[in-house]
């Protein structure tokens, strides 16, 4: 039995669309997901488990239509879906009574329900969010059921699989130890965007594509296989782009142009299609004139952090200028009562104001 475990696709999210290069990012997420469906069909995967937040917001009818078309295409692969906190089934939700394709199973109950698939001998458990927040630990009280609806015993080697969404205090807190003891053969977790294993049988696939700039690292889904030797899972790195943190070390010998080149080089090294959070650190020249805004035009840059410091420290600068205006300014700031963050800013502004406007004599 083969399955894909996908979660937090967030269709409809449009991260970075404030940048010109990010305009198509929303569409890209759709395409990425359709790619997974195509792969599933190609690899004759039995199940695709979607552990919540397939949509970023309440899905529109036409969006469901589009996605259902792609689901239909990937038959006979069965697609099992639960709704997460982002696409929860509200009173007006289009999920309600949606005529899904025959190979799609939407587990829309608010409490845990199950589906038994005799052909694959798999029993799938799951529930859907009907509210944005759920504080109760709904997964703490469930476990596999060994009989079918009529009370007949299920085959001994039936696989019991739970689709679960949540894991923080406002979105179904999960007691992982309890859940592990409940005895499911696999728990396909969703909600946390960073992929990680809780145990060999219980893992977060993470978001298929990074949804905001805090979703660093690789993204994709989990591919599972049950053969005679048991369950094998591996993580498939799938996202079209990643958020990459770049740290560029600056020296006081570097001009602003040289620093920009350094950033360019680092971006090319990491792959230009990625999205970058650039941190400038090290020592900058006293006379370095720059605008961090320039960095944004070098590529897919989402953030620039300027942690560059001057070669001198304020104490020694003060010592060298004790008698003059700059020295008096530094002393005043150092003596003032303010938090260090503010003090650094004030010193920077003051230094620039007094130093940059000075006349050379």
């Amino acid at each position: 039995m083969k399955f894909f475990h996908v979660a937090d696709v967030h269709l409809g999210a449009a991260p970075e669309n404030r940048f010109t290069w990010g305009q198509d990012r929303g569409r890209e997420i759709y395409e990425s997901f359709y790619g997974v469906l195509e792969l599933a069909a190609k690899e004759n995967v039995n199940f695709i488990f979607i552990s919540g937040d397939l949509f970023h917001r309440q899905p529109l009818k036409r969006e469901l239509k589009e996605i259902n078309y792609h689901f239909e295409k990937c038959a006979p692969t069965k697609i099992i879906i639960i709704a997460g906190n982002h696409d929860y089934i509200g009173k007006n939700s289009n999920y309600i009574n949606y005529p899904w394709s025959d190979n799609v199973y939407f587990m829309d109950h608010e409490s845990c329900s199950r589906l038994y698939f005799p052909e694959e001998n798999v029993c799938v458990y799951g529930l859907s969010y009907h509210h944005y927040e759920i504080m109760e630990g709904l997964y703490d009280v469930i476990g596999p059921v060994k009989t079918d609806r009529e009370g007949h015993k299920l085959p001994a080697d039936c696989k019991h699989i739970l689709l679960a969404h949540g894991g923080d205090e406002k979105h179904i807190p999960i007691h992982f130890k309890k859940l592990e003891l409940a005895g499911f053969d696999y728990v396909a977790l969703g909600h946390i965007h960073k992929p990680h294993k809780i145990t060999d049988k219980m893992m977060y696939s993470g978001a298929l594509e990074p949804i905001d700039k805090n979703d660093g690292g690789t993204h994709g889904f989990i591919r599972g296989l049950w053969d005679t030797s048991g369950l094998h899972t591996d993580f498939v790195s799938w996202a079209k782009r990643s958020y990459v943190g770049l740290e560029v070390e600056v020296t006081s010998q570097m001009s602003w142009e040289a620093i920009k080149d350094q950033v360019r080089l680092a971006m090319a090294g990491a792959g230009l299609t990625n999205m970058f959070k650039v941190t400038l650190k090290g020592k900058k020249d006293v006379d370095l004139q720059y605008d961090t805004q320039d960095i944004f035009s070098l590529g897919n840059v989402v953030d620039v952090y300027d942690y560059m410091t001057y070669e001198f420290d304020w104490d020694s600068l003060y010592a060298a200028n004790a008698g003059n205006l700059l020295g008096r300014f530094i002393k005043k700031v150092l003596d003032s009562d303010m938090d260090e963050f503010m003090r650094k800013k004030v010193l920077d502004y003051g230094f620039n104001a007094l130093y940059r406007t000075g006349e050379k004599s």
């Binding site: 409809g12 449009a14 917001r57 309440q58 899905p59 529109l60 009818k61 036409r62 509200g90 009173k91 007006n92 289009n94 060298a320 200028n321 008698g323 003059n324 205006l325 700059l326 008096r328 300014f329 005043k332 700031v333 003032s336 303010m338 503010m342 800013k345 004030v346 920077d348 502004y349 003051g350 620039n352 104001a353 007094l354 130093y355 940059r356 406007t357 000075g358 006349e359 050379k360 004599s361």
Partner: protein, 591 residues
């Protein structure tokens, strides 16, 4: 520095006009409108250029003020000055905006990066020139910004570094930074988002209302669908009934037709029979078997009657013949009947089952009655069917309407979802803007704090410098007025005076005294700024408000305290007279 020669090639009203100046005191005398102020401005223009403005402002800019009436051609001049033992020449062509500085002594061309003399002599800035060197006709006050320059200068005096820090420029820089940082938050975007949010809110319909109307229409749809299917079912039944009735009617019509035929046939037969009877009456009248039977019976009767009279043999003979007769008759009847039966199968049963015309008539009447009844029933059924058809059409129409309404509700629902989603996007963006604004606010706070500290710094410097300034002004004013008064100079170089009760603003004093106070500050500033460097002092009708005593006192003060060049532009003869009376040497020129 000593200005040695002015050559006004074409400048204002002057053409090819030259003026030689000496170290020490120079008096340039001229009547009103003789061009004294033009010469004063010429010196400034030579050092710092003639500012040329665009548009409407061009009418009053420096360039146009002194542009020769004949046009810009030859609009130029030369100024020769001596500084630290070397002679320099500034040549300017105002029309082209070009300037050349030459070290004449060493025959070396020097460049002026910004076209001003301070590129060569950094301390000789336009600001310093305006506030110390040049004393104009009416305004003897100093620029507000100059106060900060002076403070910066004073603060910088004790410095070892190579940079001169300027408080005024620092504050200017901060002001610009503030502008830049504020521009980072798009207030407009936020406001637009807010307006859009409000519009979206207005377009919202309550979820419950939508669900209610959706349920209502769905229920109606189900109801109508149910009645429609009932109607259709009934209609189907009626159609079946109608078919059956039609069949029955057809069948009955056929029967009637046949009855009619039978009746026709029977009446024809009757006709034939009566003819036959008449024929039989004419011929035999009796049928042969009957005759045999009758004879048999008669013989039997005769035998029985004649039992007593006739001999037994005779009787037996008669009876035997009678029985024979009867048997033959019966046999003949049977045979005849059989033949007739076969014949009747082909023609009509009336032969085997002889029916009367009356019976047929009766049957016909019944059939016709039934036919009428059936016809009636059929008509009723058809009418009912038509009624149902109409009902069906009505139901279908209202069903369509309900479907439309339901579709509309579904469309509204979809729109609502879209609105909710758009609102979510907007609120996210607004949150982001707010977060951004919070960061910008922090930066702005830092800038404001920096500004505050620099202003404090300026006050601190003034506190140190203020006493010196006060003393200088008091000494200067004591010299000029012969009175000892207490003065206080503020951080922005405003002077107040002690009137024995408190310090009052200097504007309470006479115009002459105010002029003198300003001069005191200028002289002090010049001393502070230029120190040991001797800089020319130019007075352009600056002593108009001075009385004879104070003028004399001032000139004495100048003679004793100012070592450098002094240029007095005046329309009065009194300066020369006073200087002569003091026994001071001076260079006198008239224009």
């Amino acid at each position: 520095m000593i200005i040695k020669q002015l050559q006004l090639t074409h400048f204002g009203k002057f053409h090819d006009f030259a003026l030689d100046l000496q170290p020490g005191v120079n008096i340039i005398y001229g009547l009103n409108e003789s061009g004294k102020s033009t010469i004063h401005e010429f010196i400034k223009c030579m050092f710092f250029g003639a500012r040329r403005l665009r548009g409407r402002a061009a009418a009053s800019d420096m360039y146009n003020r002194f542009c020769p009436w004949e046009g810009g051609k030859g609009y130029e001049g030369t100024l020769i000055f001596e500084h630290e033992g070397k002679e320099y020449r500034i040549y300017r062509n105002f029309e082209k905006g070009s300037v050349h500085l030459t070290n004449i002594t060493e025959g070396q061309a020097l460049s002026l990066e910004h076209g001003v003399i301070s590129d060569f002599l950094p301390w000789f800035t336009e600001e310093n020139y305006n506030n110390t060197v040049s004393v104009g006709q009416k305004i003897s006050g100093v620029d507000t910004g100059f106060a900060l320059s002076l403070q910066s200068h004073i603060a910088n005096m004790g410095r070892t570094g190579s940079e001169n820090i300027h408080l005024g420029k620092a504050l200017e820089y901060l002001k610009n930074e503030r502008k830049k940082v504020s521009a980072k938050v798009s207030v407009k975007q936020y406001q637009e988002d807010q307006t859009r949010m409000e519009t979206l809110m207005e377009g919202r319909i309550s979820e419950d209302e939508l669900i209610l109307s959706k349920t209502k229409w769905e229920q109606e749809l189900t109801g109508k669908r149910k009645s429609l299917s009932e109607v259709c079912e009934n209609k189907e039944m009626l159609i079946g009934e109608e078919g059956r009735l039609n069949e029955q009617v057809r069948h009955l019509a056929e029967q009637i037709q046949q009855l009619k035929l039978q009746m026709d046939a029977l009446s024809e037969e009757r006709n034939n029979e009566s003819q036959k009877k008449e024929h039989e009456k004419k011929h035999k009248g009796f049928s042969l078997p009957l005759m045999f039977m009758i004879i048999g019976v008669l013989l039997a009767l005769a035998g029985i009657l004649g039992f007593s009279y006739l001999p037994v043999e005779m009787i037996y003979g008669i009876l035997a013949v009678a029985v024979l007769g009867i048997i033959v008759g019966v046999i003949m009847l049977i045979i005849g009947g059989k033949t007739a039966g076969n014949k009747g199968d082909r023609v009509s049963k009336s032969v085997t089952e002889p029916v009367s015309l009356e019976m047929l008539n009766q049957q016909m009447t019944q059939a016709l009655y039934d036919y009428e009844a059936l016809k009636n029933h059929l008509m009723q059924t058809t009418a009912k069917k038509q009624q149902l058809s109409q009902l069906q059409a009505q139901l279908e129409k209202s069903l369509d309407e309900i479907k439309k309404n339901l579709e509309k509700v579904i469309w509204q629902q979809e729109k609502q979802t879209e609105i909710m989603n758009a609102m979510e996007v907007l609120s996210e963006r607004m949150e982001e803007t707010k977060e951004h604004a919070r960061m910008v606010k922090e930066d702005l706070a830092a800038i404001d704090f920096t500004k505050q500290i620099i202003e404090q710094l300026s006050e601190d410097i003034h506190r140190d410098f203020g006493r010196y300034l006060n003393q200088y002004v008091e000494r200067f004013m004591g010299n000029i007025t012969g009175e000892s008064r207490r003065f206080s100079v503020s951080g922005d170089l405003k002077v107040s005076v002690d009137n024995e009760k408190n310090f009052v603003d200097m504007n309470r004093l006479s115009a002459g005294t105010i002029d003198q106070l300003y001069l005191a500050i200028r002289m002090c500033a010049a001393k502070v700024l230029h120190g040991n460097i001797s800089v020319p002092l130019i007075f352009d009708d600056a002593f108009t408000w001075y009385d004879e005593i104070r003028l004399q006192a001032l000139l004495v003060w100048l003679k004793e305290n100012v070592k450098g060049q002094v240029i007095l532009l005046t329309c009065h003869a009194r300066e020369a007279t006073v200087l002569e009376s003091l026994g001071c040497a001076f260079n006198y020129m008239e224009i």
